[in-house]
């Protein structure tokens, strides 16, 4: 059984044709990486899987556990186990992180309602693991956070919300080496036989810590090459130009 199946996915933003026939399958427990130059459509793919309303699917689609999710709202997808770690998480001033996350947890896991105290303990444990400063928890969601702090908070959310598919959109960008190690360790701790990850990145360096089972290269809205971990090494040495396909 496939967890995620993307077939002939064509996506437009306004009149702009961004994804031009993406095919990708992931089984439970697998970690896939999508690499590619800027503007190749990687982040669009992440947003479309999560259900961003700014994009229109013109052909093909996305199946989750065998069911088409093209027309589901983002919150319905989240409740079915999809999580997106944002490249640029929004700030929501005044909204306490813990209050927000407890609401989110109860929305996603209504059968598993945790008390305020139980949730608080989980929150503290996860925050410690990710070395998130205590005082950040008292601020509004992402309010005045540095880029690195925002990324750590995304992974904290992932840890607490327990999705079956975690999509990491450029989680490594803006992280210094220590933060990258911490975040990678956090992700690795969450890798299980059932949980899959889709790691979207421009650079190879995060893949050295979060080692993928599969690597795909996306250029001009298509996956042009797939392979194992060795492909990432090739990209590191040779860049993307040798793969470049002329635009139609």
């Amino acid at each position: 059984m496939k967890l995620l199946e993307i077939y002939n996915l064509n996506v437009k933003a306004g009149n702009k044709h961004i994804l031009r026939g993406v095919n990708l399958s992931m089984r439970p427990g697998e970690t896939h990486a999508i690499m590619g130059p800027n503007g190749s459509g990687k982040s669009t793919l992440a947003s479309v899987i999560m259900g961003h309303p700014g994009y229109a699917i013109t052909q093909g689609g996305v199946r989750l556990n065998g069911k088409l999710i093209n027309s589901l709202d983002p919150d319905e997808r989240a409740r079915k186990g999809v999580f997106l770690s944002f490249q640029y998480p929004s700030e929501v001033p005044g909204l306490s992180i813990e209050h927000f996350l407890r609401n989110a947890f109860n929305a996603i896991h209504p059968q598993n309602n945790l008390s305020v105290v139980e949730f608080h303990n989980r929150f503290l444990t996860a925050a410690n693991q990710l070395r998130i400063r205590q005082d950040l928890a008292g601020r509004g969601l992402n309010e005045g956070f540095s880029g690195g702090e925002k990324k750590k908070l995304e992974i904290l959310q992932l840890a607490l919300l327990e999705p079956s598919l975690g999509i990491l959109d450029e989680t490594d960008s803006g992280l210094d080496i220590d933060a990258l190690k911490t975040v990678s360790a956090g992700v690795n701790a969450l890798r299980t036989a059932k949980r899959s990850f889709l790691v979207i990145t421009h650079y190879v360096r995060i893949l050295k810590y979060v080692k993928p089972d599969w690597v795909h290269v996306m250029i001009d809205g298509r996956i042009v090459l797939s392979g194992d971990w060795k492909l990432a090494h090739q990209i590191e040495k040779r860049g993307y130009d040798w793969l470049n396909v002329k635009k139609k």
């Binding site: 259900g51 919150d75 989240a78 944002f86 001033p93 306490s96 609401n103």
Partner: protein, 463 residues
């Protein structure tokens, strides 16, 4: 019953309140005399009213702020005494009203009172206990009409001192026809440890449309006064014009919290001002919901060295509403400090305006003022404006001003929805976060009610 219909119906429903006495529609010298006579007032108060009426006639309508052209002074009842029982029993109260009260989480005893089933609030005894305790310290807490009879000297000494009838047309109107409101007197050094709120909630129904409130805090005293309640106050009276005067003597501190939710046909034009003397502290915390147009700018006149004033306000303008609110700080002594924070939310055709004034005349060295006004727009049609006026004539001062207008963006909503929250839940969390810095200053139960009420208001704005 559908929640949206419930709230709408409640806020627009004409009320069926019967009145024991109703003065004639419209205003004349005779009506003013009649009001004073019916209340059995002394000549001096009658004369204040009559003089104020002449001022009212002479004063022009404000040409700034909101649209006041639809006010018909001749169509308004200026004095009404409601009968005690409106509905015979709880089951006669319209379901719409009952369910809104329930959804607001107002205790049933209080629901019955607010809807008019109970003439006497059950916690009357509690109130009397509080009053006895206060009485021992010399604290006076009465409705204004009673205070005028029981303590005429004190009332006479301070009435109209902070806001004279000549201040503006609506202050003149209030002075001419006022009825109800509260009188609070706190003797020197007495700190009232509980907010004076339970009483006013009881009294809310009788608050009327031209209430007059006067608070005198003697040196070194403290009192927190809470007025209004978040239950919709619905009325066919289309004009609410109150006056609140506060005197904060040296080293005293007064906090005045208002949360009001007027029905959507009401012009809410209120003058609130405080005189703050040396090292005194005045804090206005103001939540404005409902009404057709609100114009309200609580003011602090800092008249003694190191006096401090704060104006914290939240305004929500729904469809067809205009909230023109803000604050004023007049630095009339050196080393005085002020802080004005305004948070407003507009949705659909709603409009919020921040209007503020900070004045520091020459010689007021060491004055500090900080103004922050943030507006949140919920959709494309809503509107917000900022009219900050700074008159700074002294150079040895620290003045800060920040203004922001934000929209609930698609990205922000998408972000929260990607965490499993519905669109409505996401909107509610964003709005609750936005007002949090001020909501946390409210007494807890008011903050909870305010959040619930804003949620109710927002249910109509998301699909």
């Amino acid at each position: 019953m559908r929640p949206k219909a419930t709230n709408e119906e409640l806020l627009t429903r004409p009320d069926d309140v019967a009145y024991l006495f109703k003065a004639k529609k419209g205003l004349s010298e005779r009506v003013v005399r009649e009001i004073s006579h019916l209340k059995g007032e002394s000549d001096w108060m009658r004369d204040i009213r009559l003089r104020a009426y002449q001022v009212f006639l002479k004063k022009k309508m404000p040409t700034w702020g909101g649209d006041l052209s639809k006010i018909r002074f001749e169509d308004i009842f200026y004095y009404m005494k409601p009968v005690e029982k409106v509905f015979q029993n709880w089951s006669d109260v319209p379901t719409a009203i009952r369910s809104t009260y329930q959804r607001l989480g107002i205790p049933q005893a209080e629901q019955k009172y607010l809807s008019g089933v109970m003439a006497q609030y059950e916690s009357e005894a509690v109130y009397h206990n509080l009053k006895d305790r206060m009485g021992k310290n010399g604290v006076i807490f009465e409705d204004m009409d009673t205070a005028l009879k029981k303590y005429p000297e004190i009332v006479k000494k301070y009435f109209g001192r902070v806001i004279p009838a000549g201040d503006n047309k609506f202050a003149a109107l209030n002075t001419a026809v006022w009825s109800g409101g509260s009188f609070v007197y706190v003797p020197a050094g007495v700190k009232v440890e509980f907010p004076l709120q339970a009483y006013f909630r009881i009294n809310a129904r009788n608050a009327g449309q031209f209430e007059r409130t006067l608070i005198v805090a003697e040196p070194g005293s403290f009192v927190h006064y809470v007025e209004g309640c978040t239950a919709p106050v619905y009325t066919t009276n289309s004009l609410h014009s109150a006056v609140v005067e506060i005197i904060v003597k040296p080293g005293a501190r007064v906090r005045y919290t208002t949360v009001q939710n007027w029905s959507k046909n009401v012009y809410n034009l209120v003058t609130k001002r405080s005189f703050v003397y040396e090292e005194g502290v005045m804090e206005w915390v103001d939540g404005n919901l409902g009404s057709k147009l609100t114009m309200k700018y609580p003011s602090v006149y800092l008249l003694g060295r190191k006096a401090h004033g704060e104006v914290l306000s939240i305004a929500l303008a729904g469809d067809g509403q205009h909230q023109d609110a803000g604050g004023k700080a007049i630095h009339g002594a050196p080393e005085t400090t002020s802080r004005i924070i305004s948070k407003s939310i507009a949705k659909e055709t709603g409009r919020t305006s921040y209007r503020g004034l900070v004045r520091v005349p020459r010689g007021m060295t060491g004055a500090k003022s900080n103004v922050v006004c943030d507006a949140l727009l919920l959709d494309e049609r809503s509107r917000s404006d900022t009219y900050p006026t700074m008159e700074i004539k002294e150079s040895d001062v620290q003045i800060g001003h920040e203004a922001s207008v934000g929209k609930i963006g698609e990205e922000q909503l998408f972000y929260l929805r990607s965490r499993g929250l519905s669109e409505a839940e996401a909107m509610n969390l964003i709005v609750a976060g936005f007002i949090e810095p001020i909501a946390k200053e409210l007494p807890l139960e008011y903050a909870v009610e305010l959040n619930r009420l804003i949620q109710l208001e927002m249910e109509g704005s998301v699909g």
